[in-house]
Amino acid sequence: MSAPRWLIAPAALGLALVVLPLVALIVRLDWTSVPAAIASPEALSALTLSLVTAAAATGVCVVLGVPLALLIARAESRLAGVLRAVVTLPLVLPPLVGGIALLFLLGRTGLVGASLDAVGIRIPFTTGAVVIAQSFVALPFLVIAVEGAFRTAGVRYEQVAATLGASRWTTFRRVTLPLVAPSLVAGIVLCFARALGEFGATALFAGNQEGVTRTMPLAIYTAFNGGGIGQSTAIALSLLLVAVAILVLLAMRSWREDVAL
């Protein structure tokens, strides 16, 4: 059965809402300035920093998020509900608030930061801070995607593996994890994309220092505000970020088809 006809109007409007701003961006672009803008040392350094930190944050999210997702999926339902709500907090929190919270935790006078400072470790305004801020905002994407898959997969195959003499670690590695592979890939892609676009928490917690914490979103913001490079550069950089995001989405599609059973 096809959808009611009168739904076409809002659907088209929704599509326009997503597509038209990007069209405007492209229309506004001065194509002659693109090569110079993209090839500029500032742009390249921002792009490199963005890719490296987003990749690192994704790694952190996988290492911490997969076990967390499994824990939630196997917890009894009330506890699982609470944990799920807590984990999704960064999703509903304005990133700026996240940045402030991270400062209060890890800043020089922060809850944990003060003790770290005492032993000579300073996290804010370093590349490490960028990774932490990105991990903070991106973790829910990974956990939600993988937790649902763990729950759907259930424990049936794990129980079978146990009767075949497989240790719990072997079972996790060879049964549990492969069963959620498609969702894990989706989670990784969403997580990476979110980390790549992260601005608010990074700006507050890590600052905007070129080569250290100035990722693409911060470089775009800086350029747009006329700091050094100019608006047309900002537009070119934005386009570059859009291109990277689209690449990631395409990679996800082909990858998912590979892993799909």
Binding site: R156, Y157, Q159, V160, A161, A162, T163, L164, G165, A166, S167, R168, T170, T171, R174, V175, P178, L179, A181, L261
Partner: protein, 381 residues
Amino acid sequence: MTGLTANVAARRGAFTLDVDLHAPSARTLAVLGPNGAGKSTLLDVLVGRLRPERGEVRVGDRVLSDAAERIHVPPERRRVGLLSQAPSLFPHLSAQENVAFAPRAGGASRIGAREEAVRLLDAVGLRGLEGRRPARLSGGQQQRVALARALAARPDVLLLDEPFSALDVSTAADMRMLTAETLERTGTTAVVVTHDVVDALSLGHSCVVLDAGRVVDGGDLASVLGMPRSPFVAALAGMNLLAGAAAGDGVVHTDDGRVLRGHEIGVLRPGDRAFAAFPPAAVRLEHTGVVGSAPSARVTHLAAMVEGWELGTAGIRVRFRDGLLADVPPAEFASLRLRRGDRVRLVVPPEAVSVYAAGEPVCGADETSATVHDVGRGRLR
């Protein structure tokens, strides 16, 4: 010796399982029981998913569970395999990788595990399908892979949980033969839990009957099925079962006030609790009012009311309101012109009726009389 011994009690919710059973080495014990008898609770205890409250589970000298000593070996270290109704093959692995899973988990080399898997798949008739994913195998083929996979773990004991009930009739028959032959050839100690008498007959060397969490009957299949002691086993064996008191000389006064004449098996004194069992095919039907053979030393007459009928394997199976059954040849059925609610006479020759003591070795008198009560009211399905 690697026989399985389980003398345990376990609780799940309000249900209590309390059993004592033994599967001798390289033999298969059939555990029969109606739904809710405690079969899956028993399996969970044996496989290690449920901790017993009392008693122990041993394979040979190896203790798997001992409630008193607080020993409970986890499932992955029990060497107890499980073949279930659902094959539950790992969907992301090929048939061969599924079978190689256990050897690999046990530390075998990649090549060694693969050779073992190929050999086992060949033994279950799946040569050439090694590379297939489960989704591209039929239900019967999947169950064959599951059997090969379970055996690849070289379990000390293999548990089979209604292993063929999800297959269609002819596939189930093939798989049953294959499983019986494979267990025989590999000398595997096995426990098959089922409510299908054909499974028990094909695989089991001996059997126990489980009801309401207890073993109510047991021994070799011929005597258990030949002398049913519960409505469930009577239904499995396709026998009519009546309970009552022995009156000597093969006569039983049933609890619902009927007199049945048969031949006695074993020692039976007048007044002893006794069962009388006879096959539905031995019954001849007569309308009441029709002058027929008079009740005598040669025949028994039982009054009954027709409940319904269907096509049986031995003619038309007529069901009566008190739970009795009769198998009547179609032509004879036609001449009787039976209608629902008709009162008829079941004519039963004494040579077809086995009469035996209700008190039997494996269960106490209390459980038996509880069961007997049900028999008197009617056959349970």
